[in-house]
C-alpha cells in the first residue's frame, strides 16, 4: 500500500471513525500482504457512508464509474435494484454485520474491474431481471432497442396481437436477454436459440426457467459457422431471425476496457478482421430458413450497414435489404432484411 493511500485512508477514517480506528488500520496495513487493496471494515458504518467510502476508494484505484458501481452494489446488498429504491431512513441506519460483510465482499470484486453485472450476478433488460455469470456476454442497452424494433416491426406487419403462431431463431443468445424478452411480450411465440458457448446455453436455460418461459424455448449448443448443416436439419421454417452477433473488428479488441477484456467471452465479441464473419454465416442461414418475406433483425457495428447492403446485392439474391436504423446515440446500429417472395 502506498503512503499516498495510507494518508488518504487516514483522512477518511478521521472523518468517519476517529483515531482508534486509524491506529488499528495502520496496524492492519503494516502486516497486510503486499498488494492488499481493501479498506478496513469499520465497526459501524451507514449505507450512505459506505457509498461515499467505496466511491472514493474506487476512484483512487482507477475503477470506472466509481459512484454508480458503489450505488448499485450497496443497493443490491440491501435487497434493492437502485439506491433510489432504498428507504431514506435505512440509508442512515448502520449496516448490519451481514450487510457490511456483503458490501465489502462485493465491492472487493469490483476492485478487480469485474463488471458490476457480474459482481451482483444480475442485471435488468427491458421488463426482465436476468442472472449474469462470467464469461457470458452482458446485454447492452442498444440491444434493448433491437428488441423494441423487432416488436414494433412485427406489430406493423401482423397487428397488435402479433398474428398467430410465430417461430423465431436467435443466433448468439448469451444470457437469453433477446429471446426471453420476445417470449415475454409475444405469448404465442416459439423460439430456437443457439450459442457456440455451453455456458451461454446453460445460463439462457436457467434464466428461462426462472421466468417460466422454458416451455416455448429450445436452446442448442451450436455454432452458426461450423454447424450450419445441423442447424438446417434441426430448425424448421421460421418467421424471423434475430441476432446480436459478435461484430467487433479483431483489431479493435485490444483497446477494449478492462471489464470486457478480462471478464467477457471474446468469442461473443470478435467478428473477425471486418467484423462480419459471423454475420455472413447468419445471412446464409437466413436465406434458407426464413419463410417468404420473413425478416432478419441484426445488431451490427456502425460501419456495417452499407457493406451488408452491398454484400446482399452482390452475393445473396434471395435476400432484400430493407432498412438501417440508428441507436439512441445516433449511430447506425440495426439492419432489417427480408427474404424475397417468389414474385419479388
Amino acid at each position: 500500500m502506498t503512503s499516498k493511500s495510507i494518508w488518504f485512508f487516514s483522512q477518511i477514517i478521521k472523518r468517519h471513525g476517529g483515531a482508534s480506528q486509524l491506529r488499528s488500520f495502520v496496524r492492519c496495513s503494516s502486516c497486510a500482504a503486499e498488494g492488499a487493496v481493501v479498506p478496513p471494515l469499520h465497526s459501524s458504518i451507514t449505507a450512505e457512508q459506505a457509498v461515499k467510502l467505496w466511491t472514493q476508494y474506487f476512484t483512487l484505484q482507477g475503477i470506472s464509474e466509481p459512484l454508480l458501481s458503489s450505488q448499485y452494489i450497496i443497493a443490491h446488498a440491501l435487497g434493492r435494484k437502485t439506491l433510489d429504491a432504498v428507504d431514506r431512513r435505512r440509508l442512515r441506519d448502520p449496516l448490519t454485520d451481514r450487510e457490511r460483510d456483503k458490501v465489502w465482499k462485493l465491492c472487493s470484486k469490483r476492485l478487480t474491474s469485474m463488471p458490476v453485472q457480474y459482481v451482483i450476478e444480475e442485471w435488468d433488460f427491458r421488463d426482465l431481471t436476468l442472472k449474469m455469470t462470467p464469461p457470458v456476454f452482458i446485454p447492452r442497452p442498444e440491444t434493448e432497442e433491437l428488441v423494441g424494433l423487432v416488436l414494433e416491426d412485427l406489430r406493423l406487419m401482423l397487428g397488435e396481437s402479433y398474428g398467430t403462431d410465430l417461430r423465431c431463431l436467435e443466433v448468439g443468445c448469451g444470457s437469453g436477454a433477446v429471446s426471453l424478452s420476445l417470449l415475454h411480450d409475444i405469448p404465442h411465440l416459439r423460439v430456437l436459440a443457439l450459442d457456440q458457448s455451453q455456458a451461454a446455453v446453460c445460463l439462457t436455460l436457467e434464466n428461462a426457467c426462472r421466468l417460466g418461459l422454458q416451455d416455448r424455448l429450445e436452446v442448442q449448443h451450436l455454432d452458426v459457422m461450423g454447424d450450419a448443416d445441423t442447424i438446417l436439419n434441426k430448425c424448421g421454417p421460421i418467421h424471423f431471425l434475430v441476432s446480436n452477433p459478435p461484430y467487433l473488428l479483431s483489431k479493435d479488441m485490444q483497446s477494449l476496457q478492462t471489464e470486457i477484456l478480462q471478464f467477457e467471452d471474446h468469442a461473443a465479441l470478435d467478428g473477425g478482421s471486418d467484423g462480419l464473419s459471423v454475420i455472413r454465416s447468419i445471412l446464409a442461414l437466413a436465406s434458407q430458413l426464413l419463410i417468404e418475406r420473413g425478416r432478419v433483425y441484426l445488431e451490427v457495428a456502425p460501419c456495417h450497414p452499407p457493406i451488408i447492403q452491398q454484400l446482399i446485392e452482390e452475393r445473396m439474391p434471395e435476400l432484400l435489404y430493407l432498412e438501417t436504423r440508428c441507436d439512441l446515440t445516433n449511430r447506425p446500429r440495426f439492419c432489417i432484411l427480408q427474404r424475397k417472395g417468389k414474385d419479388d
Binding site: 470506472s64 464509474e65 454508480l68 458501481s69 448499485y72 435494484k81 437502485t82 433510489d84 463488471p115 458490476v116 453485472q117 442485471w123 435488468d124 433488460f125 427491458r126 421488463d127 456476454f137 452482458i138 447492452r140 442497452p141 442498444e142 434493448e144 432497442e145 423494441g148 414494433e152 406489430r155 446480436n244 459478435p246 461484430y247 467487433l248 479493435d252 477494449l256 476496457q257 471489464e259 470486457i260 467477457e264 461473443a268 465479441l269 445488431e299 457495428a301 456502425p302 441507436d327 439512441l328 446515440t329 449511430r331 446500429r333
Partner: protein, 158 residues
C-alpha cells in the same frame, strides 16, 4: 410511434403499487397515475416530434465495445425548453418511458400554472400530513397532562 405516447400501465402499477383493471391498458387515454393516489389526472400528450432525446452512455464507441452501467436518458421538450433527466432504473427502455411520464407531469404544471391539478394535490397532501402530525402531537400532550394529573392525585392520597 403511437407506442411511445402510450403509457405502459402495467409498469406503472408495478411502481406505484396500485392495481388497475387490465382493459385500461388498451384505452389510449392520456392519463397517468400519480403515485399513491387512486384518481387519474389528465396529463398533456406529447408529440415525439417535439422531443429531443439524448442517451448518456459514458464515453466510448457504444454497442458491444462498451460495458457501462450508466443509462441516463435526457429528454428535452423543444416548444417549452423543459428538460427532464431519468436514470431511475437499470433498463434504458424503462428510463425512456419514465422520462416521458415525468415530462408530461411537468408540462401539466407548466400549462396550467395556478390551476395545476398536480400542484393542488401536492399542496393537499402536505396539508394532510401537517394535520396528522398536529393531531398526533396533541394526543401525546393530552396523555402527558393526564399522567401528570394521575401522579399529583396519587401524591394527595399518600
Amino acid at each position: 410511434m403511437s407506442s411511445m405516447l402510450f403509457l405502459n400501465l402495467r409498469f406503472l402499477r408495478d411502481i406505484s403499487g396500485i392495481s388497475l383493471s387490465w382493459h385500461r391498458r388498451f384505452l389510449r387515454w392520456p392519463f397517468v397515475l400519480v403515485a399513491g393516489k387512486k384518481d387519474l389526472i389528465d396529463l398533456p400528450e406529447v408529440n415525439e416530434e417535439d422531443l429531443e432525446e439524448q442517451f448518456v452512455r459514458g464515453s466510448g464507441p457504444g454497442g458491444q465495445a462498451t460495458n457501462k452501467t450508466s443509462n441516463c436518458v435526457v429528454l428535452k421538450h423543444i416548444p417549452t425548453g423543459i428538460v427532464v433527466k431519468c436514470h431511475q432504473t437499470r433498463s434504458v427502455t424503462h428510463n425512456r418511458k419514465l422520462a416521458r411520464e415525468i415530462l408530461r407531469g411537468k408540462l401539466e404544471v407548466e400549462y396550467n400554472g395556478e390551476e395545476s391539478e398536480l400542484l393542488r394535490r401536492k399542496r393537499e397532501s402536505i396539508q394532510e400530513k401537517r394535520e396528522k402530525r398536529r393531531k398526533v402531537n396533541e394526543n401525546i400532550e393530552r396523555k402527558r397532562r393526564f399522567k401528570e394529573i394521575l401522579n399529583t392525585d396519587g401524591d394527595k392520597k399518600c
